[in-house]
Amino acid sequence: MAYSGAVMDHFANPRNVGTIDDADGVGEVGNAKCGDIMKIYLKIDGNKIQDVKFNTFGCGAAIATSSMATELIKGKSVEDALNLTNKAVIEALDGLPPQKIHCSVLAEEAVKAAIADYYQKNGIAIPEDLKQCTSCCGDCTLH
């Protein structure tokens, strides 16, 4: 297994690490038993993602995909962020080893979970496809 230069860069110098105390939306996915947890904090103003931070427990790819996902949604509209796919994260990182694809799925889900939290806090109906998966990422064969 070898990581691309982009993965190693985002792992070694992760962007947007940290927390936001007065976040408008916080999403956490994965669980420690599986070995991956991602937590994303959003600061949203006028439907725009003004700031985003993350904390991740996981492997190199988990940290790199979190970092890349936050970069890809920073400054975008909430709708654009909702359209972020794990494939876009993989492409931006110049690929991931097959056994690490689930990390990109977690990153996508973490963004969606944070937006779902934002919707809930603001009384906006949560779309059906934002429902969360609770098992170990990689258990299913959907991605």
């Binding site: 070694a12 927390t19 038993k33 070995g35 991602m38 904390n55 996981g58 492997c59 988990a62």
Partner: protein, 390 residues
Amino acid sequence: MRVYADNAATTAVSPTALEAMLPYLTEKYGNPSSVHSAGQEAAKGLDGARARIAGVLGAEAKEIYFTSGGTEADNWAIQIAMANGAKKNKRHIVSTAFEHHAVLHTLKKAEKNGAEVTLLDVHAEGVVRPEEVAAAIREDTALVTIMYANNEIGTLQPIAEIGKLCREKGVLFHTDAVQAAGHVPIDVVGQNIDMLSLAAHKFHGPKGIGLLYCRGKIPVPVFMEGGAQERGKRGGTENLPAIAGMAAALEEACQNMEIDNRRISRLRDKLIDAVSQIPHSRLNGDRQRRLPGIANFVFEGIEGEGLLLLLDMAGICASSGSACTSGSLDPSHVLLAIGLPHETAHGSLRLSLGAFNTEEEIDHIIKTLPPIVERLREMSPVWERIKKGA
């Protein structure tokens, strides 16, 4: 500075072993099965290597079967026990939960072929209890197979005691000594070992060569058809350069064992003392009953792969039992067997030292590791919860 602290994965070939190999790659290239002088020269080298290895283990030359390594030897040993057991309708095997997969997966296969397997607990200290081995042995037990030392956490098993009780009960005893050979004294007669596996590359010999010791009285079914090599049990032209390298490496390791072990254990203990200072960390396995070179830790709140990558960037080669490094979803079966929860087992680090590690290198690890753990914890939501005491 590059610090190689993964000697339990593999070791560098020692200059002595390399020197012993070279003639068999150059001028002494004959096939030991050939009648002519070139072949007989090679045959002499092969016989000599076998005799020297047997001498070191306390065995006889005819009890040594060369294999491609430890995995093959483990597979073969279990097959031998199954075949001999079947003649007497004995199909029960006793082993432990934290064996190498070369044993565990072979036992799984044996189960499909009618074997019944009892895997014993190794408890929090990572050591199997002889009285529990004794209690597990039944009328129909064909084999007890227990590793000499664990490859991940380094704990030594009470091999002599288990050997004695197996002999008294008339049950075959195999030990996977891949991690132990060349690092701790082995005496197959004194320890009542019926079968033993080892691999040269764990004690500064070459890769791709190992052996199975099988006590003379035990019938050995053919493992590989096609030739008279290895007393007709494993066909195929012998890998003589590697065999010569293994013999030289094993002799050298055993000659230097006392001095090397004193030095390596001291470095290991220095490492354990320093690393244990990191908050929410622990040493895995019994502190005393362990190989001189292996120390395995867990750091709560982080995952092992990131740790390995950052250590590698700082020039330190180590390994981890995290799921991410194995390509599976589950962390190391060894760490789960000593009772670590999944969450914690993901954050493991194995540092394994060898004859070539220096004090300066240990100091480099001691200086480099804590800030890396700290850095990963800083970005970990799990650590955030631990800090809050949740």
